[in-house]
Amino acid sequence: MSEVKYFRPRSYSEFTDLLGQLPTGFKTVAGTTDFIPAARRGAPYPTALLDISKLNEFQEIKEEGGRILIGAAVTMADLLESDLIIEKCSVLASAAKSLGSPLTRNRATIGGNIANASPSADTAPVLLTLDADVHLISNDGLTRQVPLTSFFKGYKITERGNDEIITGFSFTTPQSGIWSRFAKVGQRSGAAISVANMSVIIDREDNICHDIAVAFGAVAPVPLRAVSVEKAAKGKPFDNQFITDCCEAVQADISPISDIRGSADYRRHVAANILARALTDAFA
C-alpha cells in the first residue's frame, strides 16, 4: 500500500492556506462512513485525504438574510438536534433522523451524503425540494454555487469537479404554514438504506395546492425532483382525481431498477403509495 498524505484543517484560514498544496488526486472526507466501507471493498486510495470534519466554519448551521446555511461538515446528529432546523425545516431533521444508527449519525455529514451521490442518499430529496444550492470551492480558491437540481448528473456522477470541495448548502427559509414530509421505505426499522425515499413540501390553502415540491430517491440513477407530479398538482384542487393524476405522473418521473434491496416493481408501487398517502394527509 502506498503512503496517503493526510490533512485536517481546523479553521477556514488553515483550510484556504492548504488548498494550493493539495496534490492532484486528493479526496475530501468528513465522517468517512461512506469512504471506509468503499475502501474495504477495494476502492483505490487517493494520493491525499483532506479531512474537513474538524473544520469549525463547516460545522455551522445558521440563518442569514432569509436563507438557511448548513456547513458541509454538519452531521446528522447536529441536524436533528438543531433548534433552527427543527423549528423552520423539520423535514430535514426527519431525514437526518432516519439515516443509519446513532453511531452513524454522529459521524455522517450532509456534505458527504450529497458528495457521495448515492441514489438513496436520505438528505438529497429534502434538499432538492428546498431548492438548495451547493457551495463549492476548488483548490485554486475559486468558489461557485450550483443548484442541487442540476448537481446530480448520473449514477454517482455529479457536477462537482475532482478538485472541488463542497463547503456547504443554502436555501430560502421555508415559509411557516407549509406542509412537509420526509418518507422512507426500508427493509427494516433501524439502520436501513432506503428502497425508496421521498420529500414533499406543499403550500396549500383550503383545498387548493398552490405550490408543491416533490423529490424521490432510490427510484432512479439519481435523486430527482418529480416534475410531472408537480405539474399535475400545481394549482389543482384536492380530490380523488388529484391523487390519481399525481400517482400516474410519478411513474413517468421515476425509472427504478431491481437490485439486492428490492424490485423495480416494488419501488414503483411504494413510490405511488407513499406519495398518495402524503397528499391525502396534507389535505386532511
Partner: protein, 764 residues
C-alpha cells in the same frame, strides 16, 4: 432456604452472571484478542467459482514475496479429505460428512478455500493472495436441489448421485387418513439459507509448545475437534490441544471446524505462532448456513378440528459438502409434524448436494424450518375450518403419555398447551387500528425442540469440582461458553449444593488438556449434560463433607445442611460450624475434597430407518410465541407491536439467563421470519456483508414479555429442560401468522419481507 429442602438460594433466582461485568467493560479476552510476539498472519485464497476443475495452482510468485513464510495448497495437507466427527464415543458410520481442508481437483462452492498464505503482516498476505495463479476450468454446476436430483444432473462430488440421504416416517395409512378427512389443506413452504451472524467472526491463534504439542486457541463450540485436527496433520491426538476462550456467539456456526486446521497446519509446517481472523464477507460466503428447504405439506382434518392425516415431503439443499446435513435432516424428519397428534403420518425427506455454500448446524438444527411449515399449516387449517387458531391447536396438542409418529412415547413433561394458552392471554385483545393504511394482526406458534444429542450418539459429559482449604470452589469442565452463560450455570449449581455464593466459584473451562472433556456446546445440551455432571460431582463432595461433619459433631447426617458458608445443625444450632473449618478437618483426615463425575445420557441404538420408528431424542422442550403486528398497506412494512413467549423451562437455573435466552431466541428467529436470507446467483453470494444481509436491530423489536412454566419435568439438573435452541424456533411462523391475519392472505415463503407482504396484499 437451602438445597436440602429444595427451597433454593440460587437456583431459579434472577442472578447476574458471574462473568457479566468483564464482558460489559470489554475486559473479556476473546480468541481474536490474543497476540503472540512474532506471530504470522494467515489468510485464505477463496475460489472465484462455484463449480470448476482445479487445473493448476502456481504459488511460486507468492512464495517469493518478501515477508511470506509459507503458502499451502491441498498437496501440503497430510490428510486433506476428512470427515466431521464430534468427539462422540460411539461410531456412527453413514452420518459422517466428508469435507476437504483445501479444495482439491474440483472446486465445489464459491468461496471454498483453495490455498492459505502465512506472512508477517495481513497486508503482505493480501499481496501474496493476488500473486497465486489458479487455473480454473469452469463447470456448469447445479444450484437447485430438485435439478440436482434429476438423472444426468451435474455431479457436485465424486459419487454417482447428488442425493446425500433420505428418511421416512410411517404411522398408519395416510390414504385412509385423508379418506376420513372433511377438509384437506395443501401448501408448499420454502425457506432460504440463513447465516448465524455472530458478532465475533471465526478467529484464533496457534502455537507450538516446548513439549511439541500444537495448541490452537480459537472461537469454537467444539474443543474436541482436536481429534479431527490431529487426523488432518497425521499426528497423535495427544499432540493437539484446543482452547476455547469465551466465544462471541456460536449459534451452531462454530460447530464445524473453521480456522483451526489452517492454524494448526501453519504451526505444523513452520513451527511459528500464527493468527487467523475471517472477515465478515468470508464468514458469510464460506462457513455453513442453515439449510434451505422446500416443504410440501398436506393435512387432513375433520369438521370438528381433529387432524387425521399429515403428509410431508421435504427437500433440503445440503450445499457443496455433506457436513452435518444427514443429522439435521433427521431432526427435521422426527419433528416434521410438530407437537401435534395425527392419526396417520407419512413423512419423506431428502437432502441433496448442490454448488451452493455448504449448509450445516444453525440454532434449531432442522427444527426451525419444519416449525415454520407445520405452524403455518396449523393456521391455514384453522382458517379453513373457521376455527380460532388456539382452539384448533388445543384439539391436537400432544400431551404427556402420547406417542409421536415415530412411536416414541413422551414420558416427560409436555406443557405445550399450557404455554399456548398463556401466550394468547398475555397478548390480550387485538389493538384497533386508527389509520386507514394500518392493518393489525395477531399470530401464534408452538414448537417442540429436542435438547441433548441424538440418543444413538451415546453422549457423555465430565466435570471436576473441588473445594479449596478456604472454602472457595473450583470447577474444571471442558465446556465452551458461547455467551449463553454455560459456565455461570455450572457455578450456580456448585454454589447451591455446597452452600456457598456464586462469587466463591471459579470455573475453568474449554481446554482439552486441562479441563475434563464435556462434549460440544451444541444441541442445547450443555446445561443438561455438564449441569448434571457438575451436580453429580458437587453432591459427592457434599456427601463427603456432611459425613465427616456428622462424625465430628456426633449428630446424624440427616440433621445437617450447608448454607451460607456454614455447616448447619438443625437440632443444635450452637454446634454450627464454618465451612472452612470443616474443610480443614476433611483435609487433615484425608477425606476427598474433589470429585470428577461423568454423566451419561440415556443411550439407544439407531432408529429403524425403514419405518422411522424408534427413539432419537432423550426429551423435548415445548413452548409458544405470540405476536401482534401492524402492517402498513402502503409499503408492506410490518411493525411488531407486541411479542410474548412462554416456555416450560423445567427449572430455570438462572432466571435472568433463562429470560435472556428466551428473548434473544425470539429475536434470532424473527430475523428468519422478517428479513434474512442468503441470495445467490449460480452459487455466488449476492449479499455477503451486513449492508445487504440484514438482521433485526433494536428498532425492529418491541419490549418483549416472557413467561415460564417450571414443571420440573426435564432431564437436566433440578428437572431443567434446555432453552438455547427451542427459544428461537417458533418466532418466524408466529410473525408470519400475525402478518397473514392482518392482511387476510397467505405467505408461505420466508422471509416475509415488506416487499413480499405488499405482493401478497396486491395479489389478494
Amino acid at each position: 432456604m437451602s438445597y436440602k429442602d429444595k427451597n433454593f438460594r440460587i437456583i431459579g433466582k434472577p442472578m447476574p452472571r458471574h462473568d457479566a461485568w468483564e464482558k460489559v467493560l470489554g475486559k473479556t479476552n476473546y480468541a481474536g484478542d490474543n497476540e503472540i510476539p512474532g506471530m504470522l498472519y494467515v489468510k485464505a485464497l477463496r475460489s472465484a467459482h462455484a463449480a470448476a476443475k482445479l487445473v493448476s495452482i502456481d504459488t511460486s510468485a507468492a512464495e517469493a514475496l518478501a515477508g511470506v513464510e509459507i503458502v499451502l495448497t491441498a498437496k501440503d495437507v497430510p490428510n486433506n479429505e476428512t470427515v466431521t466427527k464430534f468427539g462422540q464415543t460411539h461410531t456412527v458410520g453413514g452420518f459422517e460428512g466428508l469435507y476437504r481442508v483445501l479444495a482439491d481437483k474440483k472446486v465445489r462452492f464459491y468461496g471454498e478455500a483453495v490455498a492459505i498464505v502465512a506472512a508477517e503482516t495481513p497486508e503482505i498476505c493480501d499481496e501474496a493472495l493476488k500473486l497465486i495463479k489458479v487455473e480454473y476450468e469452469e463447470l456448469e454446476g447445479v444450484f437447485d436441489p430438485a435439478e440436482a436430483l434429476k438423472p444426468g444432473a451435474y455431479l457436485v462430488g465424486e459419487d454417482d448421485t447428488n442425493l446425500v440421504c433420505q428418511y421416512k416416517v410411517r404411522k398408519g395409512n395416510v390414504e385412509e387418513g385423508f379418506a376420513k378427512a372433511d377438509l384437506i389443506i395443501e401448501n408448499t413452504y420454502t425457506v432460504p439459507q440463513v447465516d448465524h451472524i455472530y458478532m465475533e467472526p471465526e478467529c484464533g491463534t496457534a502455537w507450538l509448545g516446548e513439549d511439541g504439542v500444537i495448541t490452537i486457541r480459537a472461537s469454537t463450540q467444539v474443543i474436541e475437534h482436536f481429534r479431527g485436527i490431529a487426523e488432518v496433520l497425521g499426528i497423535a491426538q495427544n499432540r493437539v490441544r484446543v482452547i476455547a476462550p469465551m466465544v462471541g456467539g456460536g449459534f451452531g456456526g462454530k460447530e464445524d471446524i473453521t480456522v483451526e486446521t489452517y492454524l494448526a497446519l501453519v504451526v505444523f509446517k513452520t513451527g511459528k505462532p500464527c493468527a487467523m481472523t475471517w472477515t465478515r464477507e468470508e464468514s458469510l460466503i464460506s462457513h455453513g448456513k442453515r439449510h434451505a428447504y422446500t416443504m410440501e405439506y398436506k393435512t387432513g382434518v375433520t369438521k370438528d378440528g381433529k387432524i387425521v392425516a399429515q403428509q410431508v415431503d421435504i427437500l433440503s439443499d445440503a450445499g457443496a459438502y455433506v457436513y452435518l446435513s444427514p443429522w439435521i435432516l433427521l431432526y427435521s424428519t422426527v419433528k416434521a409434524v410438530g407437537p401435534y397428534d395425527s392419526e396417520t403420518v407419512k413423512v419423506d425427506t431428502r437432502t441433496v448436494l448442490t454448488n451452493n455454500t455448504f449448509a450445516s448446524a444453525n440454532r434449531g438444527f432442522g427444527g426451525a424450518q419444519v416449525c415454520f411449515a407445520y405452524e403455518r399449516q396449523m393456521n391455514e387449517a384453522a382458517k379453513a375450518l373457521g376455527m380460532d387458531p388456539l382452539e384448533f391447536r388445543r384439539k391436537n396438542y400432544l400431551h404427556k403419555g402420547d406417542a409421536l409418529a415415530t412411536g416414541r412415547v413422551l414420558e416427560n413433561a409436555v406443557e405445550t398447551e399450557a404455554t399456548g394458552i398463556k401466550v394468547m392471554e398475555m397478548l390480550g385483545e387485538k389493538t384497533i387500528s386508527d389509520k386507514p393504511n394500518i392493518l393489525i394482526g395477531q399470530g401464534m406458534a408452538s414448537s417442540m425442540m429436542s435438547y441433548g444429542r441424538m440418543t444413538f450418539l451415546h453422549d457423555t459429559s465430565r466435570s471436576y469440582v473441588s473445594i479449596e482449604l478456604d472454602g472457595s470452589v473450583v470447577i474444571r469442565c471442558g465446556v465452551q461458553d458461547i455467551g449463553c452463560g454455560q459456565t455461570s450455570s455450572l457455578a450456580s449449581i456448585a454454589a447451591e449444593v455446597l452452600g456457598v455464593d456464586m462469587d466463591d466459584v471459579t470455573v475453568y473451562f474449554g481446554d482439552t488438556s486441562l479441563t475434563p472433556l464435556a462434549g460440544t456446546t451444541t444441541a442445547t445440551r450443555m446445561l443438561y449434560m455438564s449441569g448434571n455432571a457438575t451436580l453429580k460431582a458437587s453432591k459427592a463432595i457434599r456427601e463427603n463433607l456432611l459425613t465427616t461433619a456428622a462424625k465430628y459433631l456426633e449428630v446424624s447426617i440427616e440433621e445437617l445442611d450447608l448454607i451460607d458458608h456454614q455447616v448447619i445443625v438443625e437440632s443444635a444450632p450452637e454446634k454450627n460450624m464454618p465451612l472452612q473449618q470443616l474443610v480443614k478437618i476433611c483435609a487433615s483426615d484425608g477425606v476427598e475434597l474433589f470429585n470428577l463425575a461423568q454423566f451419561n445420557a440415556p443411550a439407544r441404538e439407531f432408529m429403524d430407518f425403514t419405518s422411522g420408528q424408534g427413539q432419537v431424542f432423550a426429551d423435548f422442550t415445548f413452548g409458544s410465541h405470540a405476536v401482534e403486528v401492524a402492517v402498513n398497506t402502503d409499503t408492506g412494512e410490518a411493525k411488531l407491536l407486541k411479542y410474548v413467549s412462554c416456555y416450560d423451562a423445567g427449572q430455570a437455573v438462572n432466571k435472568l439467563s433463562a429470560e435472556g435466552q428466551i428473548e434473544g431466541g425470539a429475536i434470532y428467529g424473527l430475523g428468519y421470519g422478517m428479513m434474512e436470507g442468503i441470495k445467490y446467483d449460480k452459487g455466488k453470494t449476492l449479499n455477503p456483508n451486513l449492508a445487504t444481509y440484514l438482521i433485526p436491530t433494536t428498532m425492529d423489536v418491541p419490549e418483549m414479555q416472557t413467561d415460564m412454566i417450571e414443571s420440573g419435568g426435564g432431564l437436566g439438573p433440578f428437572g431443567a429442560k434446555g432453552l438455547g435452541e427451542p427459544s428461537s424456533v417458533p418466532s418466524a411462523p408466529a410473525f408470519v401468522n400475525a402478518v397473514c391475519d392482518a392482511i387476510g392472505a397467505p405467505i408461505n415463503d420466508l422471509p416475509a419481507s415488506p416487499e413480499a407482504i405488499l405482493k401478497a396484499l396486491n395479489n389478494k
